[in-house]
């Protein structure tokens, strides 16, 4: 199972944040948005388009990535040259933009299907994982690696960090024992670049602020 394909970070987070049986989101829309916003920014860091320095995003390369979702974020960053604060960008992308981009990317890959639910007050469109097996991949992969005492690669470390930062660990890391946790935390400290540590920490802070301001 550990050989299951690794998707882009935000896609993996989206799948992890959805119930494998019912396809329902395990997070509030606000918290999911914050996590996906950070994940897309993280992907741009992996693409070597962005750096995060002192809480500000620095554009280091403005060439499109070839992936529509991250390119859309990059374009937006180029258009809004005067805004660079990471917390502003996380909040902005979390207004629905990040969720929308990720849902579309996963739909194109055939991993999500559009589901229309008719209710009393009109119908509600949602995207649910096409296959419950697929939705369980990322979480299973991380647990398997940790269980075997193997090292996670950097994108999976960021994914694990965002799982903690959004509170998803209460679903995903429930079965992790103290030793596994200790190993994971040790990898956060030693193997996650400072820039990405900051990205996850800012996301976690944004999630906390949303709780305090009753937006979560």
């Amino acid at each position: 199972m550990a050989s299951s394909p690794q998707l882009p970070l935000a896609d993996d987070l989206f799948l992890t944040a959805h119930d494998t049986v019912k396809g329902k989101s395990l997070l509030t829309p606000a918290t999911l948005g914050l996590g996906l916003a950070a994940a897309l920014i993280g992907e741009l860091v992996f693409w070597r388009r962005l750096d995060l320095v002192d809480g500000k995003l620095q554009l280091i390369d403005d060439r499109p990535t070839g992936d529509p979702a991250t390119t859309a974020v990059l374009d937006q960053l180029l258009r809004e040259g005067h805004h660079r604060a990471i917390r502003d960008w996380i909040s902005f992308l979390a207004t629905g933009i990040a969720t929308d981009l990720v849902e579309r990317r996963l739909s194109r890959a055939g991993l999500l299907i559009r589901q229309e639910k008719r209710g009393l007050l009109g119908s509600k469109v949602s995207f649910v994982p096409a296959d419950s097996m697929v939705a369980g991949w990322p979480a299973t992969r991380i647990r398997t690696f940790i269980g075997r005492g193997e090292l996670l690669d950097v994108p999976d470390l960021v994914l694990a960090g965002l799982i903690l930062g959004t509170g998803l660990d209460q679903h995903v890391f429930l079965t992790l024992d103290a030793r596994g946790r200790g190993q994971l935390f040790d990898q956060f400290r030693r193997r996650l670049p400072a820039m990405l540590q900051d990205l996850v920490a800012h996301t976690e802070a944004a999630v906390g602020d949303a709780v305090m301001a009753r937006r979560a």
Binding site: S25, L26, L27, T28, A30, T31, D54, G55, Q76, R79, E80, H82, H83, A85, R87, D88, W89, S91, F92, T95, I97, G161, L164, G165, T166, G167, L168, D169, Q170, H171, A178, R181, G182, L184, F185, F188, R189, A194, Q197, D198, V200, A201, H202, E204, A205, A206, V207, G208, D209, A210, V211, M212, A213, R214, R215, A216
Partner: protein, 505 residues
């Protein structure tokens, strides 16, 4: 962050602005914790009966003036610090972290007094009503336990649902208070009372008791600054909303209390003693008829429920914030992922509420006077003390960081406000016997100040323990979830980076 100063039209600024709150939304939120009927029909008549003092309207007005002065510096400082919703953040940065932690613990106790007081109020008031409506005589503590269960369940569920319900009830309550009070004016017994608005009562004996009663009506106004980073215009929205809330509360409560006292006849204190919370409804009954009275009673009960839910949410978030910063165990910094509700803070509050309810039921203590009124006014004194210390902290903060605000916001209003608040705190503490309607020197008069002193001292000591044993946690106190370094933002990931194992919870 407020660094997004007016660049040309930007999608980002617009999108963020769209999500932000205007003045009305913030006022709404503040008023829902203030629970108008609970104060007007619950606190005021009970207070009349217990203290024998009638100058409550002028006390509301005086309190409003002082709180508005306090709010000048308080709101100004909220623009400069993170985690603006919590008094201890101001105190940590303006005075020092040990006092800040002491204040945080005092705040938890004071807010819990309010929250639990509402259970007693509900039980005591619902018991005769249920007998009247349904012909069943249910013990007050059974009814209170039902409310407790509702609050406990809602506390760990979606908070947004609570918000809509609270908003609807609030509007209905305000309309009802206004209608009842105006109809008092046409009562045959109406005789414009000068005692209720006599400024002399603010300097006479028992003035501290009046002020302590008045502040209970305003508690919740301090929550406006929670939204300083969520508001449309950080410089204006929260400030306006705070002043409007204070003015609205003072006018509504001051007028309603005056109208009630004016139309209650010669012996208002005697009637308040006999009729209790029904006094508010009885004086308007000849104009409005029984249907309005029933509606009033029903809303009175929902008002108490709204108050208990509001304070429950304030407490669970306060606990959440302290858990995130590592001042309380990290487990309190957790939320339910699917709802964003601060789960463990909520559960802890519910546990405490249950213990107190059971204690009152077993000991046979009076739910209306001893739980509702004493609890509420003890909470009021606690909040008054907190506001006073926060006011000093505002002066301290701006003495160290004088940029960005003018003289009036930094020094003028805070100094005047602090002096007045110190006088009020002294009066309130020295009038506890009058406030509680007991003999000077009897147990309740020293238990309340002693409890506050002990819990504050415990908080200070805990901060000193953290300073020597956990300097990383200590340095983050009062900085909220927004500090710049990755390892001090609170939450599970930050704890992981720091190497905390206790985040396993």
């Amino acid at each position: 962050m407020s660094t997004t100063a007016s660049p040309p039209q930007s999608q980002l600024s617009n999108a963020l602005a769209r999500d932000r709150l205007g003045v009305a939304a913030v006022v709404f939120f503040v008023m829902s914790a203030a629970a108008p009927l609970t104060v007007v029909a619950g606190v005021v008549p009970t207070g009349l009966a217990v203290t024998g003092l009638t100058g409550i309207s002028i006390a509301f007005i005086a309190m409003a003036v002082v709180l508005a002065l306090f709010a000048v510096g308080y709101v100004a400082m909220s623009r400069h610090i993170a985690n603006a919703g919590a008094f201890y953040a101001y105190i940590s940065q303006g005075i020092g972290r040990p006092v800040g932690v002491g204040a945080a613990w005092l705040a938890l106790l004071a807010y819990n007094c309010f929250q639990i007081a509402a259970y007693g109020g509900f039980g005591a008031i619902a018991q005769p009503l249920f007998k009247d409506w349904f012909g069943v005589d249910i013990q007050w503590w059974v009814l209170a336990l039902v409310c407790w269960a509702i609050t406990a369940v809602l506390g760990v569920r979606d908070v947004a649902v609570n918000g809509k319900v609270l908003a609807t009830l609030l509007v209905a309550e305000i309309i009802l208070v206004v209608v009842f009070s105006f109809s008092d004016l046409f009562s045959s017994d109406f005789h414009a009372s000068s005692a209720a608005v006599d400024p002399g009562s603010l300097v006479g004996a028992g003035s501290g008791a009046l002020l302590a009663m008045a502040i209970t009506g305003f508690v919740g106004f301090e929550q406006s600054v929670v939204f300083s980073e969520e508001s449309r215009d950080p410089r204006r929205t929260v400030a306006r909303a705070t002043y409007i809330s204070i003015a609205l509360i003072a006018l509504l409560y001051g007028f309603a209390a005056w109208a009630m006292i004016s139309s209650a006849g010669d012996d208002v204190i005697g009637r308040a003693g006999n009729e209790g919370p029904d006094l508010f409804f009885n004086v308007a009954s000849d104009q409005l008829g029984t249907a309005a009275i029933h509606l009033g009673h029903a809303l009175f009960l929902t008002s108490l429920i709204a108050a208990m839910i509001s304070f429950h949410n304030i407490i669970s978030r306060y606990t959440f914030s302290l858990g995130r910063e590592g001042v309380l165990p990290r487990a309190f910094g957790r939320t339910v992922p699917g709802t964003g509700a601060p789960k463990n803070g909520s559960l802890a509050q519910s546990a405490l509420g249950l213990i107190v309810l059971v204690l009152f039921a077993v000991m046979g203590w009076d739910p209306l006077v001893q739980m509702f009124f004493w609890g509420g006014s003890a909470g009021g004194i606690g909040v008054l003390l907190l506001i006073t210390v926060t006011s000093i902290a505002v002066i301290g903060y701006f003495a160290k960081n004088p940029t960005g605000e003018d003289f009036w916001h930094r020094i003028g209003a805070p100094v005047v406000g602090t002096i007045l608040l110190l006088v009020m705190s002294y009066l309130a503490l020295s009038n506890i016997a009058t406030l509680f309607g007991v003999e000077p020197g009897s147990t309740p008069t020293w238990v309340v100040p002693l409890a506050y002193a002990l819990i504050t001292l415990a908080g200070v000591l805990w901060a000193l323990v953290l300073r020597s044993s956990r300097p990383d946690v200590y340095s983050g106190i009062g900085l909220g979830a927004r500090s710049a370094t990755a390892a001090s933002t609170g939450g599970g990931f930050a704890a992981a980076l720091r190497g905390d194992q206790e985040s396993n919870a």
